[in-house]
Amino acid sequence: MNWFYIEGVLILAGINIIAVLGLSLLTGFTGLFSFGHAGFMAIGAYSAVYFGERMGLPFAVSVVAGGLVAGLVSLFIGRLTLKLKGDYFCIATLGFGEAIRLVLDNVQVFGGARGWPGIPLKVDLVTVTIFNIVGILFLMFLINSRHGRSMIAVREEELAAKVIGIDTYRYKVISLFISAVYAGIAGGLLGYYLTFLQPKLFGLQKSTEYTIMVIFGGIGSISGSVLAAFILTVLPEMLRSFAVWRFVIYGAAVIFIMIARPQGLMGGKEITLKGIAGILGIPGRNRKTARSGEV
């Protein structure tokens, strides 16, 4: 294996991890299914590259700004759709994602369907790792805060959450906003890594892939999402020599794991330092609670 190739795959895995972390907050912790996250990613990608290349903002600033633009759009979309319940919200996001792609197909300023080539390469493994660490830490603190617990309450039993005084609508909006920012940042990084953007990159397939990753990793688990995004990015690359059978094997692997483990890889649990110590047999004071899944 050659480092140049591995590095490329790792960068891509890192970008996917950021997008999946965001979706994990929305789907895994707040219980809202989205099939339109590629749309937020597209908004983030195009805005970031626009800020960076047309307006001359520094790389990191433009990527974060791209994420915020995606977040702002999500506030608007959220106002319209978050009052919808369950499946209806899911369908609305599906429509949103496709709409964004078709709008971008028509905006000739950004190259339309023919894409936007010639973006400078500004993403390396270090940048992606930094974004990943910040992203994971932020999400960990959020989930363990009062706000995070409120979101989980919305997921578990919305009516009960309302009864005890949680503003469920507000927490859904916040959750969608943060997850859209994550998706937008991932989009910006993807643009600066691929050096090319095209609306086709952000189709329904992309949204579905991310949702699969969240469920594959286990609903309500940060480490599960990270693990799943990593495995499902690396797996198709490892299967490259199988040529046309590659995605058949990939699909079979996903199906097998979902049958063998319906709750996903981590199934709501987290990998913690104490947990690892426990598995390795290093005595710890609190082994039992650590393995039960509290971060």
Binding site: N2, G118, F196
Partner: protein, 388 residues
């Protein structure tokens, strides 16, 4: 359950790594007398037919070359990877080809988007790429500067659009044209844009410009609008499936206009699906399928794979010829030396004369073939070139 799962995962990963390792070793004889040439393109997804035809062609040609003594005394081995037509996958595949497989050059992809996305990697690793049917101008030239490691063997969208418009205006004498195109497709958007530009420059009138999006199967609303403007010719720059459907629906609506298409049309499927609807239509192609020069290749391909090559096969054939010529003149397998030699390629390919322009990395002045559909067959009309 957990243990079983972990065991399964470990087994799966080991099997994968093992299989990957084996197939790499299994490919061709080991040792220093094998040189690898990479190929990327779609083997899965909606453009898989074309990708498969390219890879088949390359394997056929490499096999023939090896049987007759190889290239510079070495055997050629083709390493092909699937991209699903996706730009991200294309970048991954190229990274793997240049760093792990250590190919000396890459042929493909057929999609312009993938060809544009891989430029950075090619330049970083200094390996040349020859695209087959990537017709977007920006594949080889960006902001007026030629990309050092990107080449191609096909003509470009502005040229094809200009050929279609020029032929419709000058030869067929049409003055009123309508355009129906796929707004979600890069190729269709480009061709429509340049057809309209040339047709209007010549003094023709575009009476209607209607769009649909990839995957649509009902074109009646757009066609009804087009019918109301009564054009003499309708330009339909998209792939054969939609072309067949829209042509049928146009005839159902009673549209009598001549239909015209681009290089997305030629396919046996078009004739099967559309039948009489495309009778009397014209399209622009890279070559004449009945040209005596291509018969030999068609027969060899048919003998090995039991079917006729798709259009992409012919261009992959010429891309391979261009590469072989460059390697011979460079007298070396050094990718940079090959790149330098590619800039001065001047050969006679089966799709026409290929003289690579130093400042564009495109085949200069390559003629297009105009094909008419007559009696359910493709009938070559003439070679047609646009001069500025």
């Amino acid at each position: 359950m957990q243990k079983r799962l972990i065991i399964f995962l470990v087994l799966l990963l080991t099997a994968t790594v093992f299989a990957a390792g084996c197939s790499n070793q299994g490919q061709g004889p080991a040792g220093g007398d094998v040189v690898k040439i990479g190929w990327i393109g779609s083997l899965t997804g909606d453009t898989a037919v074309w990708g498969q035809s390219e890879l088949n062609t390359l394997e056929l040609l490499a096999g023939e070359l090896n049987a007759s003594g190889g290239l510079l005394g070495k055997k050629i081995h083709i390493v092909g990877y699937d991209t699903r037509g996706d730009a991200t996958e294309a970048v991954n595949a190229v990274k793997r080809l240049v760093s792990q497989d250590k190919v000396v050059a890459i042929i493909g992809p057929n999609a312009s988007s993938s060809a544009m996305a891989i430029s950075g990697t090619l330049e970083e690793m200094k390996v040349p790429d020859i695209a087959t049917v990537a017709t977007n101008p920006k594949v080889t030239v960006m902001d007026g500067k030629v990309k050092p490691f990107n080449f191609r063997v096909c003509f470009i969208d502005p040229y094809q659009g200009a050929v279609a418009a020029g032929y419709a205006f000058d030869v067929l004498g049409f003055r009123k044209a309508a355009v129906l195109y796929d707004v979600a497709d890069e190729y269709s958007q480009g061709l429509a844009e340049f057809f309209i530009k040339t047709f209007e420059e010549k003094g023709g009138q575009i009476v209607a410009k209607e769009a649909f999006k990839s995957g649509d199967t009902d074109f009646r609303p757009q066609l009804a609008k087009i019918k109301a403007t009564n054009p003499e010719v309708i330009f339909m720059p998209y792939y054969f499936k939609e072309a067949a459907l829209s042509a049928k629906q146009a005839r159902d609506l009673g549209i009598k206009s001549v239909l015209m298409g681009g290089d997305g049309w030629p396919s046996d499927t078009l004739l099967e699906m559309a039948g009489d609807a495309v009778e009397g239509s014209y399209f622009v192609n890279h070559l004449d399928f009945d040209d005596p020069e291509v018969q030999d290749f068609k027969q060899r391909y048919n003998a090995k794979y039991g079917k006729m090559p798709e259009l992409n096969g012919y261009l992959a054939h010429d891309a391979f010829m261009v590469l072989v010529d460059a390697v011979k003149r460079a007298n070396s397998f050094d990718p940079v030396a090959i790149r330098d030699a590619l800039e001065t390629v001047d050969i006679e390919g089966i799709t026409g004369k290929i003289k690579i322009g130093k400042d564009t990395h495109n085949p200069e002045g390559k003629e297009a073939a105009i094909i008419k559909i007559e009696g359910g067959k493709y009938k070559f009309q003439q070679k047609y070139a646009v001069t500025d």
